[in-house]
């Protein structure tokens, strides 16, 4: 790459002005190149998935692949899993984190360390262990589609935990709680009417991250023999690459939208609320 060679060359202090301009060109070139390379597979999958040779734009590959399948069921499965895993994570983590921040801040370091473990254990190892353990401990459990929910909660834990923890740190929880209590609010009123509205941004961020991850999860679902949308995509891809490309394009686009929503929503929050601590 040409950029590497240019970097050490511009080292002459006298030519400071041309140096800056030259560096800018290199940087813009790198970013531009990255943009093109990032987008190439995206553009290609749209072009490949929504055309037929000699016919131009066509939805036929996708329609043919979807005809006679139960894609609606599989999409619904993925949607259900996304919603349930997200709700599950929030119900488990929000009260836990609030309690710890209020009553036992010294435990936060330990729980944060715990929350990173799923980052260290690859999904495939988790499936293998879960398969081994639950087949002996509770054979009926893995049959249900909903048995995936706790594992998705585990896989998304590092991201969701961080997002919620950062949100709680950015508000002055103790002061809010004490103020609300001194005005006579019951704990659940404080939680519902004061704390949660203040955490809206990080709740939404955590939910979007969780949904985006569940949308693309393949290893756990496939190996535990549940049919979700990514599993369907691989089945289609075995003999209909055009339809698979079209579905991939849609998946990537939706993921991006979810995460773009996240960064747009959280950007002003972090700047306006980053101050207190």
């Amino acid at each position: 790459m040409a950029a590497i060679e240019k970097l050490p060359l511009v080292s002459d202090g006298v030519k400071a002005r041309t140096q800056v301009a030259g560096g800018d060109v290199v940087r813009t070139a790198i970013i531009g190149l990255a943009l093109v390379l990032f987008f190439l597979p995206l553009v290609a999958s749209a072009a490949f998935g929504f055309t037929l040779p000699g016919q131009g734009i066509s939805f036929e590959p996708l329609r043919d692949a979807l005809a006679g399948t139960d894609i609606a069921t599989q999409l619904m499965n993925t949607a259900k899993l996304a919603v349930l895993s997200t709700i599950g994570s929030l119900v488990l983590l929000v009260p836990t984190l609030l309690f710890l921040h209020l009553k036992a801040p010294n435990l936060l370091r330990f729980t944060e360390w715990l929350s990173v473990i799923p980052y260290v254990v690859p999904a495939i190892a988790l499936v293998a262990g879960a398969n081994l353990f639950f087949r002996q401990a509770a054979p009926g459990f893995m049959v249900s589609l909903y048995s995936l929910v706790p594992f998705y909660m585990v896989l998304t834990l590092p991201l969701v935990y961080r997002s919620l923890d950062a949100g709680i740190r950015s508000i002055d929880l103790r002061t809010l709680w004490a103020a609300s209590e001194s005005l006579g609010a019951k704990p659940w009123q404080t939680l519902w009417q004061v704390v949660l509205p203040n955490l809206r941004g990080s709740l939404l961020g955590a939910s979007l991250l969780s949904c985006a991850m569940v949308l693309g999860e393949y290893a756990v679902a496939a190996l535990l023999l549940h049919s979700t949308f990514p599993v369907f995509m691989v089945q289609v891809g075995m003999n209909q690459p055009r339809a698979a490309a079209a579905l991939s394009f849609i998946t990537i686009l939706v993921t991006w939208l979810l995460l773009a929503l996240l960064s747009r929503d959280s950007a002003p929050k972090t700047t306006s609320k980053g101050g207190p601590r």
């Binding site: 490949f48 393949y218 891809g237």
Partner: protein, 295 residues
Amino acid sequence: MTLNSTLQRVSWRGLRQRGLPGWVGALPLLMFLALFLILPIAANVVTSFWVNGAFSFSAMAQLLEPQYLDAFIQTFNLSLLTAAVGGVLGLLLAWALATGRKPAWLQNLVLSFSAVASQMGGVALAFAFIATLGVQGFATQAILGLTGWDLSQDIQLASFSGLALVYLYFQIPLMAILMLPAFGALKKQWQEAANSLGASRLRYLLDIALPIMWPSIAGSLLLLFANSFGAYATAYALAGGRVNLVPILIGFFISGDVMNDESFAAALVTGMVVVVVAAMGLRSLAERKANRWLR
């Protein structure tokens, strides 16, 4: 609010403070993780040392058989290669994103896409690459039409180098995202001070920037390594059984496509977890060192 009820509430609060120690709040999370993360992994580790009802190293020793050792070597090489190449290119991208100023919309677009691409992996990425570089792919056909070179003959996606190429798609942006804070921590004054003392930019880079940044660089490289060592979906969707990788082998064992030896399957997983945990352990050491400068 009557005085009485206030008193009641205060005493109730006092009671809760005394009666409920802090660790009770962490209990649901602890129990959840114990059941769905720790116990499964522990069961797996135990099984890999438990052959035919007795403690034994025989399953772990089987990992050294040529076919399985080869899988570990291939996975190791793939992770090393994509971490190294992805690391260098990602570092370059992070530098451009952290220090470049114009045009802002381009910076933001690439930044937001890096965040998405770094988490992508998975089957969607595999099919997007088949659509790009496969035999009928978009780029393959365009280049064939322009130059007459059929690149799908030389770059086979279902091969070691093909997988490496696809992994770079998430490794480069991941490295960039991980390194951005480290670039932010480089104070402008340090460079000005170095320049005023007559240091060239190369000298500044070698004597100041790199020594400060190497713990973050090493830590990020280790994460990249672990990231690709455990990757399953992309490899499976692209190559299936055509590349001998540990995650793919484990997948075959779980779905029962190959002989049903529970202990050995568990041993494969234990082997992989050991490698990944070692990489991540080293990473946390590197991170501790890096944090000294990030404040």
